[in-house]
């Protein structure tokens, strides 16, 4: 399934085993795959199949028991934590089902935090955040706090926060689960717009409706790749959704 573009992610023989004092739980059993740039990829599968563990490993927030993960050619599974953090800061954007926004910060400041982490001064970060939020249709909500925003608006803020630093890889976890059909479409539209020659979007989801907008669908079953197939991404797909 390797695309023509160089892979954003390359995973070889990935194994993850959770251990407690008395219990050993193997979750992933030797997964190998590549995620090229220019694609929106879905990771699907039943609950407990290991897809959340897989995306955690791919995003570099969890270490594999064995095997390797390369993000943009950097072997993050072999790097110390501080170095992996720097790679994530430079290359990865995150979107979550529950948004994970700071309740005390306005929409603009929630986005500005990500820009500040990339080295912008706080005033610069705030003005850039305002521009990004205007682009995602939240120009009138800059000074609203998450509690004053609808679910869709919160997710827009979260997506703006993930995309504002122009990451190579955007990782999303059930980003449409709490949203109605129309709002979910708007979110996917924003994420699809980020897919480019050097960028990729990787979403964990149970939402079968999203297959129409993905180039690729990876099914995880019992910690293994059960299926790795092309998605239904097409102009017709966009129209059907809308």
């Amino acid at each position: 399934m390797t695309g023509a573009l160089p892979p954003v992610l390359r995973v070889s023989d990935l194994v993850k085993v959770y251990r407690t004092r008395s219990v050993v739980t193997p979750v992933l059993h030797g997964i190998s795959l590549e995620i090229p740039a220019g694609q929106l990829t879905l990771i699907m599968g039943p609950s407990g199949s290991g897809k959340t563990t897989l995306i955690s490993l791919l995003a570099g927030v969890l270490r594999p028991t064995s095997g390797s993960v390369e993000l943009c050619g950097v072997p993050i599974s072999d790097l110390p934590e501080a170095a992996v953090s720097r790679v994530r800061r430079e290359r990865v954007g995150f979107v979550f089902q529950s948004y994970n926004l700071f309740p005390a910060l306005t929409a603009r400041d929630n986005v500005a935090v990500a820009l500040q982490m990339k080295g912008h001064s706080w005033p610069e970060a705030r003005s850039e955040a305002a521009r990004v939020l205007e682009r995602v249709g939240l120009g009138a909500r800059l000074t609203h706090r998450p509690a004053d925003l609808s679910g869709g608006e919160k997710q827009r803020v979260a997506i703006a926060r993930a995309l504002c630093t122009r990451p190579t890889l955007v990782v999303g976890d059930e980003v449409t689960a709490a949203l109605d059909g129309h709002t979910a479409f708007e979110m996917i539209e924003l994420l699809r717009a980020h897919v480019g020659e050097r960028t990729a979007v990787l979403l964990v989801t149970h939402d079968r409706r999203l297959e129409r907008f993905a180039e690729r669908v990876i099914e995880i079953e019992d910690g293994r790749v059960g299926a790795d197939r092309a998605g239904e991404m097409s102009r017709e797909g966009w129209k059907a959704w809308s």
Binding site: T52, I55, S56, A59, V61, L62, A82, S85, R86, V87, R88, R89, E90, V92, G93, F94, F96, S98, N100, L101, F102, P103, A104, L105, D109, A112, V113, A114, Q116, M117, W122, D173, V204
Partner: protein
């Protein structure tokens, strides 16, 4: 991270205000206790330091300045022959019975000095001049003792019966009180001798001024050859008096314990608040970690909150303690807010907030970025 931390802290007003109250309370308590301690220290040795000199001669076994015994006339001759001695000043410092207008008796401390010699006594005059004390039986009293002495707010010209003698108030001092809180009564040395029934030429202390302060040890050794005489440098006698009253009386320990209690209460309240804030924002902090925030950046989330609490609580606590200072002054208690006292107070509060934040910092550092997907 500063913005995230500070906005998050202020956003939850209940927790913020309870933490702020904790730091304010701790600041108030620490500054008040340390300030009172310093006030007691200053008060207990104020007369010694004001009279000054290089060496004090006293009856052997004198524990503190308040409990001196009369030296016999001519005692000063034992050191006057020393080539390093410039002069010897007599000082009366003795207890006397005062009869109130109601007929009840109370004790006062009579301080008699020669107004022609040495530093001007008494200092800090609110009304009158030192020269007003030159005529016989003219005394200066402190404004904080007026009620105790049964006098009006403007007592100049009023009279008192002390040591069976009628004395007249000629001056009023401000903020001069000893550790015992019994009234000081300043007068010229002749009147003092009459009041405390001490013979001519006698004194409680002989204050020796030296031509060269380096000779102090030699003069002390010379004076101590006499079996009835004890000599101390001015600083050593002041420190002995401070130690006797403040440390020996247990007052220092009580004040120290109260300060510690305030800090412990502050640590618990601030620690609880910071911990609760960290727990409330665990998901968002894990998100920042996933986004690439370093451990140091995450720890600064707690650090900025602790800093803001220390700064605001310190400022409010200081404002309150200034008010308390005036309130205590009206009750005759001296609360010193010198740069050293403020330094100790602020260092304690900063230390308190630092200790209170340790648990939360450890929790934040231990956060797993993978928690964002759970």
């Amino acid at each position: 991270m500063r913005q995230v931390a500070l906005f998050s802290l202020v956003h939850d007003r209940t927790k913020f205000l309870s933490a702020l109250a904790g730091v304010t309370f701790a600041t108030l308590l620490v500054l008040a206790q340390v300030g009172l301690y310093q006030g007691f220290l200053d008060g207990s040795s104020a007369v010694i330091r004001r009279v000054g000199g290089d060496v004090w001669l006293m009856a052997r076994g004198t524990p503190v300045v308040e409990f001196g015994e009369a030296l016999s006339a001519g005692t000063g001759l034992s050191v006057l022959g020393h080539p390093c001695v410039a002069r010897v000043r007599p000082l009366v410092f003795a207890w006397a019975a005062m009869r109130r207008p109601s007929g009840a008796f109370d004790s006062v401390q009579v301080i008699g000095f020669d107004p022609r010699e040495g530093p001007v006594l008494p200092w800090s005059l609110r009304e009158g001049l030192p020269s007003d004390l030159a005529p016989p039986y003219r005394v200066a009293i402190d404004e904080s003792d007026l009620t105790k002495l049964g006098l009006s707010a403007h007592p100049v010209g009023a009279s008192l019966e002390v040591g069976g003698k009628r004395v007249h108030v000629a001056a009023v001092t401000s903020g001069i009180r000893g550790f015992t809180l019994q009234p000081y009564l300043f007068t010229n040395i002749e009147s003092a001798r009459r009041i405390v029934q001490m013979g001519d030429g006698r004194a409680t202390y002989l204050v020796v001024d030296l031509k060269d302060p380096e000779c102090a040890a030699d003069v002390v050794a010379e004076a101590e050859r006499r079996p009835d005489l004890e000599a101390r440098t001015t600083e050593a006698f002041a420190q002995r008096t401070e130690a006797y009253w403040v440390t020996g009386s247990g007052a220092g320990a009580i004040l120290g314990f109260s300060s510690l209690l305030g800090l412990v209460v502050g640590v618990v309240i601030v620690g609880q608040t910071l911990h609760s804030m960290t727990k409330d924002h665990q998901r968002e902090l894990a998100t920042l970690k996933a986004m690439g925030a370093s451990r140091r950046e995450l720890a600064s989330f707690v650090g900025w909150q602790a800093t803001l609490l220390a700064a605001l609580g310190g400022a409010v606590g200081t404002a309150l303690v200034v008010g308390l200072k005036h309130l205590l002054a009206s009750l005759g208690l001296k609360l010193v807010l010198s740069p050293a006292v403020l330094g100790i107070g602020y260092a304690s509060v900063i230390g308190m907030c630092a200790v209170a934040s340790i648990g939360s910092v450890r929790k934040v550092i231990a956060l797993e970025a993978a928690e964002v997907f759970k």
